[in-house]
């Protein structure tokens, strides 16, 4: 165990202890300046069980710490996403914060609530999803990655590698953002004379890497001619690599994925994974809080959407990325 890790362990135990203590005595932990600043930001976004969101949460938490404001993160339950999107946003409004930062995943549910918040005088900043709606809803800005842009970036990478027929592996069938990514990918490939089909993973397999690997392997075996596989989260990306390796297709099928994990990075380094699409979720979280703070305090905000992705990680920049992951875990993606 390295010294850094030991320090983090001590810090982690201290965080847990402080959390439990504050629950017991009914106060919330936070910097002393929080009261003086009197700015409170509520952040509504995805659950921490989804590997995409811990870096976003860590970025948002770091920003609120750096700025000395009080901060509350309300996670949406992905298992019941529509109902939960409404409840979490209602809860955020009920807290009467200085500003709300929200991931607008289910626009039909969240948009009316954004308008409700704005109407009641709470400024709203849209974060990570909702790129087409934020202006109409009266939000004061958007930071994140456009789904079609991420898909298009992946498509261009596949074309650069010589893959024209690509499988898009959808880990949450029905999620409009992930569908938009697959559509963006398909658009670029079709224009180049290629094709893309979507493989929706059965919901019962989502938490089972063996099943995901074998599902992808079986699909590739029964659909010859596919020369690329694109996954939409870090774990499915490394499962796709495992499937391709098991089928001895490493030379014919290129693999790329959204999101980052240490395993994915190692697979890029080893040449088994062609590229990763990085949305930089830490920045989604950090900028979401920072922009909301500056808007509340000074009325200032970036004009137009701020893009945190798609950044691309491949053999060319892997060394630098690996050194950052080693030094600052929990910032780039899952460890």
């Amino acid at each position: 165990m390295s010294t850094r890790h030991r320090h983090k362990l001590v810090a982690g135990v201290a965080v847990l202890a402080t959390g439990i203590m504050s629950l017991l005595v009914g106060i919330s932990p936070g910097p002393a300046s929080a009261a003086a600043n009197n700015i409170k930001i509520v952040f509504v976004s995805g659950p921490l069980t989804d590997s995409f969101f811990p870096p976003l949460y860590n970025g948002a938490k770091q920003a609120s710490h750096d700025l000395g404001i009080s901060f509350n993160y309300i996670p949406i339950n992905e298992g019941d996403i529509e109902q939960s999107s409404a409840q979490t946003m209602e809860a955020a409004i009920a807290e009467h914060p200085s500003a709300i930062v929200v991931g607008d995943f289910i626009t039909s549910v969240v948009d009316p609530l954004i308008r409700k918040a704005v109407k009641s005088g709470i400024p709203v900043y849209v974060d990570q999803s909702g790129q087409d709606q934020w202006q109409r809803d009266g939000a004061f800005g958007f930071v994140g990655q456009q789904g079609p842009a991420a898909g298009a970036a992946a498509g261009n990478e596949f074309l650069r590698l010589g893959s024209k027929d690509v499988l898009c592996i959808d880990n949450v069938p029905g999620n409009p953002y992930l569908t938009a990514v697959c559509d963006g990918l398909a658009g670029v490939l079709k224009r180049a004379g290629g094709s893309s089909t979507i493989l929706p993973l059965p919901t019962a397999d989502a938490t089972n890497p063996l099943k995901v690997t074998q599902d992808i392997g079986a699909y590739l075996a029964s659909h010859k001619g596919i020369t690329g596989a694109f996954a939409e989260n870090a774990a499915d990306g490394s499962d796709a690599v495992a499937a391709v390796q098991a089928a001895h297709l490493g030379k014919t099928v290129q693999v790329g994925t959204m999101e980052i994990s240490r395993l994915d990075l190692q697979q890029v380094e080893a040449g088994q994974m062609a590229f990763l699409i990085n949305e930089q979720p830490y920045l989604d979280g950090y900028y979401g809080v920072l922009f909301a703070y500056q808007y509340v305090k000074y009325g200032l905000a970036p004009v137009g959407p701020v893009a945190t992705g798609p950044a691309i990680i491949d053999k060319r920049n892997i060394a630098k990325v690996l050194s950052v992951t080693k030094r600052y875990p929990g910032v780039l993606g899952s460890d």
């Binding site: 165990m1 921490l48 089972n208 074998q214 899952s334 460890d335």
Partner: protein
Amino acid sequence: MARSETGGLVSAVAVFVFFAITAGGKGFLSQTGTSDWINTSSQLGIVALPVGLLMIAGEFDLSVGAVVGATSIIVAMCHGYYSLSPWVGITIAIVVGAGIGLLNGVITVSTRLPSFVVTLAMMLMVDGASIGVANALTGASSISAIPTGSSRVIFASSWDSFDVSIIWWAALAVLGTYLLEKTQFGNWVSATGGSARAARLAGVPTSRVKIVLFVASSLGAVLVGIIETLSFSNGNVTLGADYVFTAIAAAVIGGVLLSGGYGSMLGTVFGSFTYGIASMGVFFLGWDADLTDLFVGLFLLLAVLANNLLRRMAVGRDAGVPS
């Protein structure tokens, strides 16, 4: 016909024959196709065997999925993040898993609350604790962990795409069958699930039986958590969440009664095979992948219906078998 596993055997064979005919030429009967469904069945089977045993004793365990996830993140944190020997994480996971099973058992027998509710609450608590501790310590809910040395051989090796989990599963099936059919403990299990009151009057230590079985079902989940984490070099708190449903489904397809008192380990093995074959087979059909869940669900429903029919036929000949 009176044996409880007959229905499961018929289901498994029927589903296999169906896919051998419809998808045999598309890779289902190839070596990879075969290892695919056997590997899937084996991991599910390791969870389903002790869950089935517990169901025979009349109790549920809905916390198994959460225990798989907790194990996974413990192993990955210790090995992948803190760079300790894999065995440290494995040992901690076994202790934590046994502790969760013990708590499930003690709370269920001492409060007489339905285990369905007790273990549901435990599932939520274990899920929450896993994510809380993992994110506080490491800033992540998913951690890479590449296995080394003896732990890799024992939990993550495979031969020509056949995983070591198959050996674990076979060993546990033999052990479970021996326990249930050849030992006094096995008699106690069936008696406890048949009528706990009558069993107590007959001197069966029903509380102790249940607590032991709760610990066993947690440990089955721990084993799968270790295998999945080290095989795929990645730990995640959500890993295994769906075993809550599929393990119970495997036991029921295999002839275990939801009301307890009846069932066998061999039946649970066939139930796991049925699920593994159906859920892998549909991919080899080459149909629209959107329909996968629909067909897996349909196959499972047909399997349970067939089993129920066979059991009723058996009741006609053997009055001792509950319907």
